[in-house]
Structures are given as structure tokens and as C-alpha cells.
């Protein structure tokens, strides 16, 4: 069974966002880039587990980006994986990304495609669904556990107000969140192997953009906090009702 893991590069969680170029771009000065945590901790690790238990034969990592994303691809390879693919492009949005990945996936033929539930930079969560649509397969999002037996995927997923257990035939696209696997620290063997595992660069068929970001804006500064005496909770309730109007 072949698994494709979609990983994307994002700024690390403690990055301060600074706008530049008249608010049309995000500054990358001093920014540390990481693999999107949902992709790394859940999707990639689960794929590796499936290989370690003999369920999968191949685990491939795929990213869409220019050469500057290769360091994080190698970080992924340091955790494991048989090969990585970089689709050489700078996509404007998920539609393009999904098309590039689907094109490649179709050319190889994967039984399972895993990704994170969303990326922490754009918080869309749309790429995985679009890949599924382009490949005409099912998609299960917000997965909290994944079991594969033969041709069947059994997936626990989050639903409103609880959880649901679904089954579905392979091939399928599954977007992962907490519960699917536990994050790992790359070990020395993996780090040294990362250099030797193949990293293919593929040129995609161009896709006309359907959306693009025009500009950014920082949130307004928060008005000063109002402190309330702990012995005066009546005042707090009153404020929440009449001032904040939330109760």
C-alpha cells in the first residue's frame, strides 16, 4: 500500500507576524519555518506507523513550494519516509496546490493520502478536500484515529458535539488532528538518512489562479483590561450583561 503525506511549510507557532510591502506581504525576516504541526505530528507519523507495522509499503512526502522549502522537507525525511517530492511552484491558493498534488498523485497511484486538518498559517483546511474531489475519491476530515485493514479504512472523526466512527474503501484522503498519532523527535539515524533519501523536483502543469490575497491587516489593539475585585462578582456579571452584552 502506498501512502502520500502532504506537508506544508508554515512559520513556527511563536512567530510575531510583521507585515511588509505596504501590507501586501508577510515578512520572513527572522522567521523560523517548520512543518505544519498537523501534517507532521499526525499525518506523517501515522503513515510511518502504518509502514512500521507492515500495513504500508511506501511512504512518500509531498510539498508544493520553491527551493526554499527543501529544508523542512528534509526535516520530514529525518522522521522517515521513502522519498519526497517537491512540486516546484509558488501557489496563490489551495486550488492550485490541490491541482498540483492531485496531478502527481494520479501519475503514481496512491491508496491513502494523509494531510493535516488545516495549516496554521492560512487555516483553510481545503486542500485535502480539493485533492479528493480532483481524484474523485472520498475525504474524511478531523480524523482522530485511523486504522487500515486490507482495503478498508476505519476512521474516528470529530463531529459536532462528539465523535463518529466511519469506514470507507481505499483510496481515500484523510485529514488528521490530535489523536491520530503522537509526535516524534527525529533520531540520529533518521537525521543522517534524510540526506540520502531521494527528493524529487517535479514541474507541474500550470493552473490559472482563482483567488489571491490582496493585502493583510493586523488586529486592532485591545482596549485596556478592566480589573474586577474578586469579592465583587456581581459587578463582573453586570459588566458582562450591560457593557459587553454577552449574557
Amino acid at each position: 500500500m502506498k501512502i502520500l503525506v502532504c506537508i506544508s511549510q508554515v512559520p513556527d507557532t511563536s512567530t510575531k507576524i510583521i507585515l511588509k510591502d505596504n501590507n501586501t506581504a508577510i515578512s520572513s525576516d527572522g522567521v523560523t519555518y517548520i512543518i505544519n504541526p498537523y501534517d507532521e505530528w499526525y499525518a506523517l507519523i501515522r503513515a510511518l506507523e502504518l509502514k512500521e507495522t507492515g500495513v504500508a509499503t511506501d511512504v512518500h512526502l509531498i510539498t508544493v513550494g520553491k527551493a526554499d522549502v527543501e529544508p523542512i522537507i528534509r526535516k520530514g525525511l529525518a522522521l522517515g519516509g521513502d522519498e519526497a517530492i517537491r512540486i516546484d511552484a509558488a501557489p496563490n491558493d489551495a486550488y492550485e496546490t490541490a491541482n498540483y498534488i492531485a496531478e502527481y498523485a494520479k501519475s503514481v497511484g496512491y491508496d491513502l493520502i494523509l494531510c493535516g486538518k488545516e495549516s496554521i498559517d492560512y487555516n483553510n483546511g481545503t486542500t485535502g478536500v480539493m485533492i479528493a474531489e480532483l481524484l474523485d475519491v472520498d475525504y474524511i476530515g478531523f480524523a482522530t484515529s485511523i486504522q487500515i485493514e486490507g482495503n478498508i479504512a476505519t476512521v474516528n472523526r470529530e463531529i459536532e458535539g462528539g465523535e463518529e466512527t466511519d469506514t470507507c474503501n481505499l483510496p481515500v484522503v484523510i485529514a488528521c488532528q490530535k489523536g491520530v498519532a503522537e509526535a516524534r523527535i527525529p533520531n540520529m539515524r533518521g537525521i543522517m538518512a534524510a540526506r540520502t533519501r531521494p527528493l524529487k523536483v517535479v514541474t507541474p502543469t500550470a493552473v490559472a489562479p482563482v483567488a489571491s490575497i490582496l493585502s493583510y491587516e493586523m488586529p486592532p489593539a485591545k482596549a485596556g483590561i478592566k480589573l474586577v475585585d474578586p469579592d465583587n462578582m456581581d459587578e463582573l456579571v453586570e459588566l458582562l450583561h450591560s457593557e459587553a452584552k454577552v449574557i
Binding site: G125, T126, A132, E133, G141, I159, I225, A244
Partner: protein
């Protein structure tokens, strides 16, 4: 020309956030001289369906197939495409929730349409079709311009005040022929967390952190939540230590919520936690450490021991409810 809206219901009752989606669609429709067509899939109560008119829908198309009471994204997408073709819809609205997020991107692909996921504003048509959404887990906002002819939007719930008006919608049956593969995902088991408000859609949330000292103290949080009619949440260390179930974890690598009121008890306010809750309208922080960073992100703060403050606050809420019946 019609703006299409996917409407969601639970056991026949239309979700409040779906009214928000219809209202949102109505605003856009007025901008473009179009009508609003709501699409209801599965068995919603007819009284509920009629109520959609009050939020701006001129027409409701319903697909009576009971299988659609559960999310089957390929079937939903198919139904929306059929409806879009019928109504000549170029703009499709869904909610940015679990269901909407599984369906809207499929529709976008089918229509080769640009998709804005998590809209916070109405489209600005001056520079194109520009919609605001949150990025970097709420640390910034982006203005996304949809370039394609067809446009798909998922609306962030609780972003606009809901205003009920007058209006009636005509209700029409929609026939869609489905394939087996549209129902390829089989539901084996459903575990709903009983009797409590769902965290994702809750308007009021009470959340606890390590300052609560241990799971045995959570009764105080639950009491306040019950009195307020709020959902409960927690910070990452609490979930990692298994004091609370992991679906309660809100933060950068947990859930993102945007309630009207978020009460954070014994949570210091690390950036990663804030990322999950910075969309809240009002934040109240209760912490015994006056230096806790969370106070900088809060609207109201109480410096005090959670064990003492919580019962007092619960009592105050109770008193307030009794005197304001």
C-alpha cells in the same frame, strides 16, 4: 441569478448558524440584484424550512432523501451543483464548520471557483470580490480576492449579528440522482457527548488551565458552565495530562473557537493558547498571578484564586438570573 446557501439542520431543527449564512447570502444577493436560494438536504421540519424566509431566502430547495440527514460530502456537493445549475447560481455559501468545510471545496473544484474559507466580512466589490478572513490562527487578517466567475464562500459562524425580519420563502422539491459512490462513507457508530453544549458552536465557554491544580477541581468549572449555559474547554497541558478529554483542548494545535464570551480560569495565556480563542468577542481572565500574559489579551480580569473566585462568580450569575427572570 441566485445566491445559493447550504443550510444545515440537526434532527430537523435548522442550526442558528445556518440562519446567519442565509442572512449573509441575502446581503450579497442585494449587492448583486440577485435572489437567495437555500438548499436543505435531508428531513428538516417544514416549519423550520419556512422560517428561512425571515432571514432573506426567497426560495428553499429541499432534497428529501433521508440519507442526507448525515454528512455525505459527495452527495451534498452533487446536490448543490444541481441546485446551482437550476438557479443559475454563481455564488455559493456554506458555513465554515465541519460539514461546510467538507463540502464547499468540492463545489469549488467542480465550478473551478475561488473559495474563501472562514469569511469574516461581506464581499467588497470595489477592488474585485474581496473578503476578509483570519490567518495565522487569528494573529492577522487577509483580504482575499476571488478572481473566478463562480465564487464559493464558507462563513465563519458568529461573525454577524442575526436580525430576523419579515419574509416568506417558496419551498420546492429538488430531485437529485445519486450514485453509490456518493454515499461511500459508512457511519458505524456515533458518540455524542451527552447533555452538554457543543464547544465548536457554543456562544459561552468556560475554560480551565493548569491553575486549576487537578481534575478533581473541575466541578467548579462545570458549575459555572451549567449556570451560564456554557460549554467547557481547557488548555493543552490539561488535555495532555488527561485531566479533561482532548476535544476540549483549544489552542493552536487543538480547537479554534469564537464564542461571544470566553472565561479563562487558571490559564497563563501562552501564544499557542491565544491562537485558539483570540476570535472570542469578550475574554474574561481569572488568575491568581497578576503577571499572567493572558491579562494583556483580556477585556475583563480578576486577580484571585480560582477556587475562591469561581463559586462566587457562579453564585453571582445565579443571583442575576433569578432577579432578571
Amino acid at each position: 441569478m441566485s445566491v445559493l446557501v447550504l443550510v444545515e439542520h440537526t434532527e430537523g431543527i435548522i442550526k442558528k448558524k445556518s440562519f446567519e449564512a442565509v442572512q449573509y447570502a441575502s446581503h450579497i444577493a442585494k449587492q448583486n440584484g440577485a435572489t437567495v436560494t437555500a438548499v436543505v438536504l435531508g428531513n428538516a421540519q417544514s416549519s423550520e424550512i419556512e422560517g428561512l424566509g425571515a432571514y432573506g431566502a426567497q426560495k428553499v430547495l429541499y432534497v428529501a432523501d433521508a440519507r442526507l440527514d448525515e454528512l455525505h460530502a459527495r452527495a451534498y456537493a452533487k446536490a448543490l451543483i444541481v441546485a446551482a445549475q437550476k438557479e443559475d447560481s454563481k455564488i455559493i455559501i456554506a458555513l465554515h464548520d465541519i460539514n461546510g468545510r467538507a463540502v464547499a471545496p468540492r463545489v469549488a473544484v467542480k465550478l473551478k471557483a475561488g473559495l474563501v474559507a472562514g469569511a469574516l466580512s461581506y464581499p467588497d466589490t470595489e477592488k474585485g470580490f474581496v473578503i476578509k478572513k483570519a490567518v495565522f490562527s487569528g494573529k492577522a487578517f487577509a483580504f482575499v480576492n476571488i478572481l473566478s466567475d463562480a465564487k464559493v464562500i464558507t462563513l465563519m459562524p458568529n461573525s454577524f449579528q442575526l436580525n430576523k425580519a419579515e419574509g416568506k420563502a417558496t419551498v420546492e422539491k429538488l430531485d437529485v440522482s445519486f450514485d453509490e459512490k456518493d454515499f461511500g462513507i459508512k457511519v458505524k457508530q456515533v458518540n455524542k457527548v451527552s447533555g452538554e453544549v457543543s464547544l465548536a458552536d457554543a456562544e459561552l465557554v468556560v475554560s480551565g488551565g493548569r491553575g486549576m491544580k487537578g481534575p478533581e477541581n473541575w466541578g467548579l468549572i462545570e458549575d459555572l458552565a451549567k449556570e451560564l449555559g456554557a460549554a467547557t474547554a481547557c488548555s493543552r497541558p490539561v488535555a495532555d495530562s488527561h485531566w479533561r478529554p482532548h476535544h476540549e483542548h483549544v489552542g493552536q494545535t487543538g480547537g479554534t473557537i469564537r464564542p461571544n464570551l470566553y472565561i479563562a480560569v487558571g490559564i497563563s495565556g501562552a501564544i499557542q493558547h491565544l491562537a485558539g480563542v483570540n476570535g472570542s468577542k469578550t475574554i474574561v481572565v481569572i488568575n491568581k498571578d497578576p503577571e499572567a500574559p493572558f491579562f494583556k489579551a483580556a477585556n475583563y480580569g480578576v486577580v484571585g484564586d480560582a477556587m475562591e473566585v469561581l463559586p462566587k462568580l457562579t453564585a453571582a450569575v445565579k443571583k442575576y438570573k433569578e432577579t432578571h427572570k
